[in-house]
């Protein structure tokens, strides 16, 4: 251990050991309350899906998407995540960057590996027969190696190394084939060619040092400060401000002022999306993926596809409704524009509504579920509006609620934060999974109208 780290450890030992006991208690509680039930639920939901003949291409799509997500996450908060003061006073020292930053990388690597192990356990536990033991070990090795590959992709995203990031995403996608084969071999005997994934992972790990040393400390500092702001906003349940911190800076189209026949705030939203192409592409892409899943969601033996489709549609609505969020977040401030708040909100609804309905219906047409795409788009947007219009967390929600099983105010805050999202997930996924196409569409539209009234009541309040 280096001298500054030793000193920090000594200084940190000043608080009583009860602090550490509390940390341990919270960690164990989080595992028992969240991880175990979630893993159990995922196991139960995956079990019927095991009867499905999932093609390697589908697995490759999922693993490739995970690779893209890892690279994207790295741009916001990478695996090398020291705190801002540590960067200012320790990383700025004379030691080699690779040496100073190594412990942070290893910590994140351990986390990713643990996640990969849990995911592998859930998948294996979802089977209704005992797997071949050797094939199970091979699958475990392949899954852990894939986790390592994702961790390196995460790091490449943080380092903004375009070529390595693209190569790692492609490798993650290609790894879908051996993962598929390692999975299907559980019922028979191991297929050794799948061990190509650990080989690729080891090669990727060998490049880590070179990727770490190109990380500029100022970028680490920016990420650390930004993330600290996000945590502060999240603690006070102000997710809109937290999202605002994370959004990328607009750099394009500073002189682009199109004049076309549309209300001024509709034009603003169009210009805003065009000036943030990444945000617009993410919103449209998520809406498209959601629409594509609607056809299979009706026929799948598990609700997981419906749940994913609804979650994607809600995320797409968040990406595309920036003007709405901005208006809602600033409603309590003295007005600057000459529109009534209601007119402002209505104009900000136009662009996301048109985009979501067109993209989701179009994509859902591939599975013959265009109408459901339209219904889900409207429900997602209504829920998004209900979430945006809720205002700031009522201060009384922070009052402790003592119960025999512990203090529960955080649970109330959690429900307050996620209420519209939970409504969207519960109502949308249940309708998609349980109802037939046309009944489901009707129910989705009805739910969208009801949630729209809920949003309006929040706005009026």
């Amino acid at each position: 251990m280096r001298a500054p780290d030793r000193l920090l450890r000594d200084l940190r030992e000043r608080p009583s050991t009860s602090d550490r006991a509390t940390d341990l208690y919270i960690a164990v509680l989080a595992v028992l309350v969240f991880v175990v039930p979630l893993a159990r639920w995922a196991t139960l939901q995956l079990a019927p899906a095991m009867a499905w003949n999932v093609s390697p291409m589908h697995v490759a799509l999922v693993t490739g998407a995970l690779g893209v997500a890892a690279v994207g996450a790295g741009r916001t908060r990478g695996p090398v995540a020291p705190s801002a003061p540590y960067i200012d006073w320790v990383v700025s020292g004379p030691d080699e960057l690779a040496r100073v930053l190594r412990p942070f990388w290893r910590r994140s690597l351990a986390g990713v590996t643990a996640l990969a192990v849990v995911a592998g356990l859930v998948v294996v536990a979802s089977r209704d027969t005992w797997p071949d033991p050797v094939a199970a070990v091979v699958l475990a090795v392949v899954v852990i190696a894939f986790g390592l590959l994702l961790a390196v992709a995460w790091l490449a995203g943080q380092s903004r190394l375009a070529l390595p990031a693209v190569v790692l995403v492609l490798l993650a996608a290609v790894a879908g084939w051996p993962i598929h084969d390692a999975w299907t071999a559980l019922a028979t005997a191991p297929r050794w060619w799948v061990m190509v994934v650990p080989v690729i992972a080891v090669v990727a790990m060998l490049s880590v040092r070179r990727v770490v040393v190109v990380l500029p400390p100022s970028r680490l500092r920016t990420q650390a400060l930004r993330w600290s702001q996000v945590e502060n906003f999240a603690i006070t349940a102000d997710l809109a401000s937290a999202a605002d911190v994370l959004r990328g800076r607009t750099r394009r189209g500073r002189r682009w002022r199109p004049a076309f026949g549309a209300p001024i705030l509709v034009r603003r939203d169009v210009v805003g999306l065009l000036r943030s192409p990444g945000r617009a592409a993410a919103g449209v892409g998520l809406a498209f993926l959601s629409g594509l899943l609607l056809g299979p969601a009706h026929t799948a033996p598990t609700p997981i596809i419906a749940i994913v489709a609804v979650a994607l549609s809600y995320a797409a609505a968040c990406y595309l409704s920036d003007g709405l969020r901005f208006t809602a977040a600033n409603r309590s401030r003295p007005p600057v524009f000459g529109f009534t708040p209601a007119r402002t909100a209505l104009q900000h609804l136009v662009v996301p509504t048109v985009l979501l309905v067109v993209v989701m219906s179009g994509a859902a047409a591939a599975g013959g579920a265009s109408a459901a795409g339209c219904g889900l788009a409207l429900l997602a947007l209504a829920c998004r509006a209900a979430s945006a219009f809720k205002g700031l967390l009522p201060i009384e929600y922070l009052t402790p609620i003592m119960t025999p099983v512990g203090e529960m105010s955080s649970l109330r805050v959690l429900f307050w934060v996620a209420d519209a999202f939970l409504v969207c997930m519960l109502v949308g996924a249940t309708i998609l999974f349980q109802a037939d196409l046309w009944t489901g569409t009707g129910l989705l539209l009805l739910a969208a109208v009801l949630v729209g009234f809920w949003a309006r009541s929040r706005w009026a309040r």
Partner: protein
């Protein structure tokens, strides 16, 4: 020691820093002055390797300045904006940490505090300081670490006349010990007292 030749900084067609040049040798203090928005902070970010110039080059001992280089980090101490501080460490702890990072004598922490007359604040946490005290503490941290070049962005902000005098003394002492200082400054008194040369942007 530090040679900055015709550096510029632009984002698209927006000019953050018009062409600027600077030459600093050991044992001198150069003040960068100019109105708000003239590019003083941008120039300092280029000098410390935190921003790559759009054009031109910044060299330290003939090598491009790059914050990823251990040599650059060992050579330059910089106070650009508000530094990050641990909320759970006292002022004395922070200075001890800087000393541990640079393998300095821990006993010298007192001298670092006394340089800016903040010895009485040794056991305070950062949130217990006034804004002026925070600035003094940031300066103490910056001057505490060994460096050949000290870069300061408006170090006089939020300081009263007496404390500005302490800052001038610290700069003069550093220069006398062979360190180079580059500071962006709006305080003409400080510039007159501490800087040998002035570069107007």
């Amino acid at each position: 020691m530090l040679t900055v030749t015709d550096v510029t900084a632009r984002i698209d067609d927006q000019v953050l820093l018009p062409p600027a040049s600077l030459e600093v040798v050991e044992g001198e203090c150069v003040a960068i002055t100019g109105p708000n928005g003239s590019g003083k902070t941008t120039l300092l970010r280029i000098v410390t390797g935190r921003l790559a110039p759009t054009e031109g080059e910044a060299l330290l001992d003939g090598e491009p300045v790059d914050e990823r280089s251990a040599t650059t980090r060992a050579s330059i101490a910089a106070l650009l904006g508000v530094p990050a501080m641990y909320p759970d460490l006292t002022i004395g702890d922070h200075l001890a940490l800087v000393h541990a990072t640079w393998q300095l004598d821990a006993a010298d922490v007192d001298a670092d505090l006394d340089r800016f007359s903040i010895g009485a604040l040794r056991d305070r946490f950062v949130h217990e300081l006034s804004s002026g005290q925070q600035q003094l503490f940031s300066l103490a941290l910056t001057f505490a670490r060994p460096a050949r070049l000290i870069v300061l962005d408006e170090p006089e902000q939020r300081l009263d006349g007496h404390r500005t005098g302490l800052l001038a003394e610290a700069v003069v002492t550093a220069v006398a010990e062979g360190q180079a200082v580059v500071m962006a400054c709006h305080d003409h008194g400080l510039v007159e007292r501490a800087a040998r040369r002035r570069v107007e942007l």
